[in-house]
């Protein structure tokens, strides 16, 4: 993450040139598409396509690695939980019982294992497109993209404001922690037990809250004084007219959903298991 707290990586690729709202739309359609299925073949294809898109967007693997590791750990935990809670769920869906493990009458079936794998890949297939949106969209475009998709500009702008002040609040938090550390409050592992550390982190919330409230006051005055909320609509400094590229991707996004509905209704309408 950069000093400003955004994930944006400046490049000049087709995805960087694409309007933020179109990328958001693509993300939404992609997600709808994925959620229609429970089929590992679809997810595998989409995951591969997704990573190809990331490659085209010239996103270095180094910067997506931490997020990738995070999501993989998340899905592993998710799978373990699923297997423990419902060890026969996959078999109930398919009607086949291939028992792999029998512990005191609780049976883990191969189908459940496969179900967990499918589910994991489902989550992972959403990752590349999400990263694509986050890494190629300038934070300055977030608000106007949302607004273009019909979200009220006041709601949209609040996201922009949050992005604007996150780095400031983070700096302030570091300051506060430093000041408390000098007064003998431990914040690092090894200086005190975990519960004590958590409690210490809670104490900094009070000064952080006070200063944030003061900031809110200044920000809202500054915005009022410069006419925010004067009219029902507003224009955006960073908005450009849509280009051919953008229209192509609108078509692609919609086509993706239609394709999904078609395939779902005609071919792959239930959980696929080998």
């Amino acid at each position: 993450m950069s000093r400003t707290g955004s994930l944006y990586i400046d490049r000049n690729t087709i995805f960087h040139r694409l309007d933020g709202s179109i990328k958001l739309m693509l993300w939404i359609c992609w997600t709808i598409f994925i959620f229609m299925f429970m089929d590992i073949r679809v997810f595998a294809i989409m995951t591969i396509v997704g990573f190809v898109l990331l490659r085209i967007a010239q996103i270095p693997f180094k910067s997506i690695k931490p997020l990738l590791i995070f999501i993989i750990i998340f899905t592993i935990f998710n799978s373990i939980l699923l297997i423990i809670v419902t060890p026969e769920y996959g078999s109930q869906l398919t009607g086949k019982y291939t028992v792999l493990l029998n512990l005191f009458g609780v049976k883990l079936t191969m189908q459940t294992l496969f179900y967990a794998l499918t589910l994991s890949l489902k989550y992972i297939s959403l990752l590349p497109i999400t990263l694509l949106f986050l890494f190629t969209t300038n934070p300055s475009e977030f608000a106007c993209s949302l607004n273009r998709l019909g979200v009220s500009y006041k709601v949209a702008y609040s996201i922009s404001i949050a992005l604007r002040y996150i780095p400031d609040v983070r700096d302030e938090m570091i300051n506060i922690i430093n000041a408390q550390e000098a007064r003998g409050v431990p914040f690092k592992k090894g200086d005190a037990n975990t519960i004590k550390l958590l409690k210490n982190y809670l104490t900094i919330l009070f000064p952080l809250l006070i200063s944030s409230l003061q900031r809110v006051d200044v920000v809202s005055n500054a915005m009022d004084l410069r006419g925010f909320g004067k009219y029902k609509t507003r224009t955006w400094y960073n908005r450009r007219p849509l280009e051919l590229n953008d229209y192509i991707f609108i078509v692609i996004s919609i086509a993706l959903v239609i394709l999904g509905v078609f395939v779902k209704n005609n071919f792959l309408n239930k959980f696929y298991c080998i």
């Binding site: 300051n175 430093n178 000098a182 003998g184 200086d191 224009t235 908005r239």
Partner: protein, 565 residues
Amino acid sequence: MSLISFKNFSFRYKNLKAPTLKNINLDIEAGQKVLIAGPSGSGKSTLAHCINGLIPFTYKGEITGSLEINGIRPYEKSIYEISKYVGTILQDQDGQFVGLSVGEDVAFSYENDNVPVDIMHKGVNKALKEVEMINFIKEVPHNLSGGQKQKVSIAGILATSANILLFDEPLANLDPYSSKKAMDTIDSIHKNQNKTVIVVEHRIEDVLEHDFDRIIVIDNGEIVADGTPDELLPDNILSYYGLREPLYIEVLKSCNIRLSKEDKISKIENVKKFKDSIVKDYNLNSKVKDESDKKVVLSVENISYKYYKDSEYVIKDISFNINSGEVMAILGNNGAGKSTLLKVISGIARQQEGTIKYMGEPIDRWSVKKRGQVIGYVMQNPNHMITKNIVFDEVAFGLRNNGYDEDFVKKRVEDTLKVCSLYQYRNWPIMSLSYGQRKRVTIASILAMQPKIIILDEPTAGQDYRNYREFMSFLDDIKKTGISIVMITHDMHLALEYAQRAVVMSEGRLIINDTVYNVLSNKEIIERANLKETSISKLAKIYDVEDKSSFLEYFTNKIKDGANC
């Protein structure tokens, strides 16, 4: 018809019993440049809020009498209507920067006015050129200094059609160099664009050298003085109402020189004719002071620090001593490395090279906590330090963390509170204390740990002259306990009056370590570190005094003694 016209105007905040502004009658003509001054709580900000519409639209209350701006009554319209005529720059440079980049922030009013994008971009570029910030158009606020952010805010106002520019304490939080730049920008806008400029500020010395047409002094909700600087400065009106006069005028007055309007003393060049009496007074009374040797408490030896292995050093090869019982000032502009130096001394950051010794013993391996017991650090903003509700608990916090038993804590805290004149407030909620009192609580909470050195970051920022005096005499009392005080400050005069020694940082290096008088009369150092010469030094130059350092010392002390009796 005046541009702004208050007639028998009073205002009372909804939750207060007494009115904050009383019977204001004031006319400001188009094209004027007006300074509104007054101590904290005088109502000067309230007056500013009435002009820009925050009153009554954000801060509710009761208005009597009338106020007309450009022929309309703002309180009968909306805050948006007023923003067509009045553009406001708030004092918090960071908080008012609402855009994610420079260009967006300047465009903010355009966006709200539904201005088409192409016209918007042209306007933004033009406004940014006006304040010389066009090269920063894509920069994010995090990478800008306070002064640069302020310029962007000014550009944001220039982008509107507002012909009244209202600056609410524009110099708060700015270092001396940026302050001067900010006033220059305001000057050039006033001259080139024929705007009406209203500045609310209590740092009169920094403001007045920039040709104001008028000073309006407010105290206790009423206008107590209104005139040109030449009319007001000869009298003692400013100091009577708790405002600090420009230093050279204090010098003149300390020598009992009779001043009149005709002397035109608002320009320092015009006081040349008083040379004889001033120089005579100086020659008669100044004496050489002897410097006694003191014990070294902390020595910093060849310290260098960088954030990352492959980045450049933020501070390089810094060495100096802190002696017991002395007050030392660390001077330098934002970005010179002052706060990094402090972080290294307090152990929050670890130097890559060099060593720090306390009483001769290296403390490089000491933890932050252990260092905290000998080196206390007081942050600039007290709200960042306070974590408890009650004064007593806040002061006891550090002691309790270090595991002292409760009887001991009680005794120590009560003693400390007495030293800090806070004993009567020991059971008060901190939220009900004033800013200055809170600042004192944070100092008490550090003093309770009985450190040998206390580091104060901008101790007087945001306080008016009356509070400044009170606070500094409090520090003088604390000094008597034998503690060493290190202050980081932008206020050259504070350093002069209260520090014996000054260390000046510039671009990560220590460029001088000498008595504060020698430092601040050294023109080369002042220029190199972008510090600001005080007007006493200017006076020394005008009067061709040979030993500027001792001239500075003599009159600084003379004024200080005068103010304290």
